[in-house]
């Protein structure tokens, strides 16, 4: 089959069966953006409910569903896929590879994620969504009436398998698929941080899988793992959840750190300051991330010894994080810093994230945490870290890599409006929440009584949320405008430093006609400074072997979806049928030989699509 025939396929079939990392990246980005908008809408509804004391807008039951789904959606269905989207779209290009190590698994990871995401949200239309918080603590989650928590348990389980598969795929890709000369210590920071994130996924997600499996047994099959009256103990679930949950924070934020490292260096037109310290700090944060989960449980009553040990371990994380902050500052020091939207988000991230880090150290002090814990202070803290870190990173990455992914440039005027509204709205929403917590407002409350001095700050926070909503609408408008009549981007619009900017925008199907030879850190920047118009090839021009597309990942995920949905309603015949579809897809995958196909060198455009 030639490349020509491949391109003629029906576009819907093409997207369902694609194993091309760039297309899967776009699928991840699009579905992540969709869920980000849903999660944002949920947040706005939460804030409207809290606009005034004793206000009745959505009511208590719906509020609990909204707060649960807001957290779950934003973490698992927005931030995770958006990060996987950038990893897919960019990492193979950054390391000079033609695709990921396992293109089939890559597609499977995406379809499992989307099956889980849809399943989670189906709760809204089938008797109510989950309402036990994104943490799903037992026994509230095991005794929650209706099927909402079942959707949470099975939806997360299915999408979690997808995430685990994706993590393993990127570990193998980064270890095995680097171009000649791309040693570990020449890898761009985004690749490095994604590599460490993939390792964290490998070790953290199994803990969540176990926690969710036990919840599933308690809810669907009548076991009593978390029922105290039968000798169970719900604290076990808290441990399992946070053994996953704390590394999850770093799973999200490390790739964002990687994006900032690239964006800040590019727009300062300077090499990243202290590259090896940055790599080491990233690895250390990832390692320490597994040693601190109990700081989410200081008030559980584990005793002063456990609390002290985990307090000191938590404080330690501030050290490598501080190292990163100073290295970013000194990357800009002595540089020539320009401020397109991508860099505005990166530069706006620094003070925002430092505030989140400050409250992070404050929270690591157990006696003080007895006051902060489960109050709005914590809500303020983790939004400073996750919005100020992860979301700013994703926005920065979007403006930065949009040209490479789609071949067009996002509008800068709308982009800057988006940044300023979002930045101001963000601080207006979350800064007052520190005070709300200190003044005695617990989190996850659907209302507060008047006369407790909580009115003004809540009002300010809601106005801030509206500003963020407006900023997001402007961003969506910008994306639509750009999709309809966006300005064509060049191959290298930002005077970039890393390999992805050495090839055309968007990248051709095969990425590199000839695998490039990497001669140092910031490989493309080095070639440009040496006066070269393209990377030096590491191999002669030859036919390019490409993987076959397949519908099996979609079918397999559909099987899991059917099985889970049927299990929620205890329809075991259909559930087994769904698992049968899974088994069938696995058998087909095993017995059919996939030979792939070749793009012949005669069909390649001149110059291999490389250079300016």
């Amino acid at each position: 089959m030639s490349a020509h025939a491949y391109k003629k396929k029906n576009p819907i079939w093409d997207w369902l069966t694609t194993v091309d990392h760039k297309k899967i990246g776009i699928l991840y980005l699009a579905s992540g953006a969709f869920f980000f908008l849903i999660g944002g809408l949920e947040a706005i509804l939460l804030r409207v409910q809290l606009l005034y004391p004793e206000f009745n807008f959505v009511g208590a039951e719906t509020f609990n569903q909204l707060l649960t789904m807001h957290g779950t959606t934003m973490i698992f269905l927005a931030a995770m896929p958006l990060i996987f989207g950038f990893m897919n779209a960019i990492i193979p290009l950054q390391i000079g590879a033609r695709d990921v190590a396992f293109p089939f698994l890559n597609s499977l990871g995406f379809w499992l994620f989307s099956a889980g995401g849809i399943l989670l949200n189906l709760g809204w239309f089938m008797g109510g969504a989950a309402d036990a918080g994104w943490t799903g603590y037992a026994p509230l989650s095991t005794t929650s009436p209706g099927n909402g928590v079942d959707f949470y348990v099975l939806g997360l389980q299915v999408s979690g398998i997808g995430t685990l598969i994706g993590g393993i795929n990127f570990l193998v890709t980064i270890i095995n698929m680097r171009a000649p000369g791309m040693t570990f210590m020449r890898m761009p920071l985004f690749t490095w941080s994604s590599f460490i994130t993939s390792g964290l996924i490998l070790f953290a997600f199994p803990a969540l899988t176990i926690g969710l499996a036990l919840l599933m047994f308690d809810r669907l099959f009548g076991t009593q793992f978390f029922a105290a009256e039968a000798g169970g103990n719900p604290i076990i679930y808290e441990h399992l959840f946070w053994i996953f949950g704390h590394p999850e924070v770093y799973i999200l934020v490390l790739p964002a750190f990687g994006m900032f490292s690239e964006i800040i260096a590019t727009f300062a037109r300077k090499r990243l300051f202290g590259y090896s310290a940055m790599v080491f700090a990233t690895a250390l944060i990832g390692f320490l991330g597994f040693m601190v989960w109990v700081h989410h449980m200081f008030t559980v009553g584990l005793g002063p010894i456990a609390n002290s040990i985990f307090a000191v371990a938590t404080m330690l994380i501030a050290v490598p994080t501080g190292v990163k902050i100073f290295n970013w500052l000194f990357t800009m020091w002595g540089g020539k810093v320009s401020f397109p939207t991508a860099n505005l988000f990166a530069v706006g991230f620094i003070p925002s994230f430092v505030l989140g880090g400050m409250t992070g150290v404050m929270l690591s002090v157990p006696p003080a945490d007895y006051q902060y814990h489960d109050s709005y202070f914590v809500v303020a803290h983790f939004h400073y870290v996750i919005v100020g870190g992860v979301v700013f990173g994703l926005f920065a990455g979007m403006y930065y890599w949009w040209p490479k992914i789609f071949g067009t440039v996002l509008n800068e005027v709308l982009g800057k409006l988006h940044f300023w509204l979002f930045f101001i709205g963000f601080h207006l929403t979350f800064f007052p929440m520190h005070f709300l917590g200190l003044m005695g407002m617990p989190r996850r409350v659907y209302t507060y009584l008047s006369g407790q001095s909580l009115d003004e700050a809540n009002f300010a926070a809601t106005i801030g949320a509206f500003l963020m909503g407006l900023a997001t609408i402007i961003m969506v408008w910008n994306i639509i405008q750009t999709a309809v009549k966006g300005k064509k981007a060049g191959n290298d619009p930002w005077d970039g430093r890393t390999l992805e900017w050495a090839i055309s925008s968007p990248a051709p199907e095969y990425n590199f006609a000839q695998t490039p030879l990497v001669r140092g850190l910031d490989a493309w920047w080095l070639e440009k400074r040496a006066g070269n118009k393209a990377m030096v090839p590491a191999e002669p021009l030859d036919d390019i072997h490409m993987p076959d597309a397949s519908i099996l990942p979609f079918l397999l995920s559909l099987g899991f979806f059917i099985a889970s949905l049927a299990a929620i309603f205890a329809n075991w015949a259909i559930a087994i049928g769904g698992l049968g579809v899974v088994a069938l897809a696995m058998i087909l995958r095993s017995v059919i030989d996939y030979h792939g196909y070749h793009i012949h060198k005669e069909d390649l455009p001149d110059e291999g699509g490389e250079g300016k």
């Binding site: 039951e61 036990a132 719900p234 100073f326 401020f339 150290v361 404050m362 157990p366 005695g440």
Partner: protein, 343 residues
């Protein structure tokens, strides 16, 4: 062009400072952690301040470098094509910003660990003569039992001021968390284990308590009160709780007592008699709030009994609107309001 944009940014400063000013109030003095009135909350407040000061120091350094960078190292327009020196890094600086934070964290870690142990002091072996309270959390109310005094109550927690009162905390249904911000930090009430802590109210007064762990739809409304009294007042209160009479004093109240005995006593105890699935009502007439949230008026009591889930969504008390007529409700209210132990 670039400079102009930055000038726009400063315009938001006044807005932010106005917000900050309105927020620097310390909150309601019966609820806030910022005006501590307990031994524990004061220790916690001091640590909050110590960590805050250290962190502000760090923030100032970062902000200073940040400002210099943004002012001095800007690219002046498209024509500014000079390539800056590609510095690799600086080992001395890397060591500096690794070692200084470690020292700062040590300064924080030592008092942190000391306070963590101090707050746990005496909980395993309660000192002789100290008041012990067993707290049991329910969806969505609080049960307080004084095992040494033989007294049980709910919603309003009476404690002696000026001494450490020891708590044993547990939950009957889902996880909750016991929090009296002005007196001290929170502790979860678990289903499978008993947690222990102490609170010490330094002066008599009324303090607000909250549930701090998501426990269902009415989580936001699971409020209670702590009433700290001088030791002798507290002892007098405990004594009168023991002797509290459930006898009605008027005819109407007597009718109410009969209704109570038929409809309510299965769940609500008065004195030693009655069930334990709902709050103990021995001193109901003394309580400032109905169900912890409504003002104590006859109308509110009647409305609550008629339809409790209107006020606390998802709570376990059945609605009595179809079972009791207005006259019966009035009688019940008269009886309940007569349940007092204080003058």
């Amino acid at each position: 062009m670039q400079m102009k944009r930055w000038r726009n940014a400063w315009r938001f400063l006044p807005l932010l400072s106005v917000i900050a000013l309105t927020l620097t109030g310390c909150g309601n003095e019966q609820l806030t952690t910022l005006l501590p009135k307990g031994e524990g909350s004061e220790m916690q407040f001091n640590l909050m301040m110590l960590s805050l000061y250290i962190m502000i120091g760090v923030f100032v350094v970062v902000a200073l470098i940040y400002t210099i960078v943004l002012v001095r190292f800007r690219r002046r327009g498209e024509s500014d094509n000079e390539i800056p020196e590609q510095t690799e890094g600086n080992v001395v600086l890397e060591i500096l910003w690794t070692v200084v934070p470690i020292i700062l964290l040590l300064i924080l870690a030592v008092p942190t660990v000391m306070a963590t142990f101090a707050l746990d002091e005496g909980t395993e072996k309660v000192p002789e003569g100290a008041t012990v309270v067993k707290v049991t959390a329910h969806q969505y109310w609080w049960e307080f039992e004084y095992p040494d005094l033989g007294v049980k109550t709910a919603q309003d927690l009476y404690i002696p001021s000026g001494e450490r009162v020891y708590f044993e905390l547990a939950s009957k249904d889902v996880l909750h968390s016991f929090w009296v911000p002005t007196l001290g930090g929170k502790m979860d009430t678990n289903t499978a284990t008993v947690n222990k802590m102490w609170l010490n109210a330094q002066e008599p007064g009324t303090y607000y308590g909250k549930c701090a762990e998501l426990c269902g739809p009415a989580h936001a409304l699971m409020d209670f009160k702590v009433i700290a009294q001088e030791k002798e007042d507290f002892e007098a209160w405990a004594e009168s709780m023991k002797e509290a009479s459930s006898q009605a004093s008027t005819d109407q109240a007597a009718q109410g007592e009969e209704i109570f005995a038929n409809s309510c006593i299965g769940c609500h105890a008065v004195g030693a008699d009655g069930g334990n699935t709902g709050p103990n009502l021995t001193n109901f007439g003394d309580r400032e709030k109905v169900a912890g949230i409504l003002d104590h008026t006859d109308e509110n009591i009647k409305a609550w009994i008629a339809k409790p889930s209107e006020f606390k969504p998802g709570n376990n008390m059945p609605a009595f609107e179809d079972q009791l007529n207005d006259e019966e409700l009035n009688a019940l209210v008269a009886y309940l309001n007569g349940l007092k132990v204080e003058e």
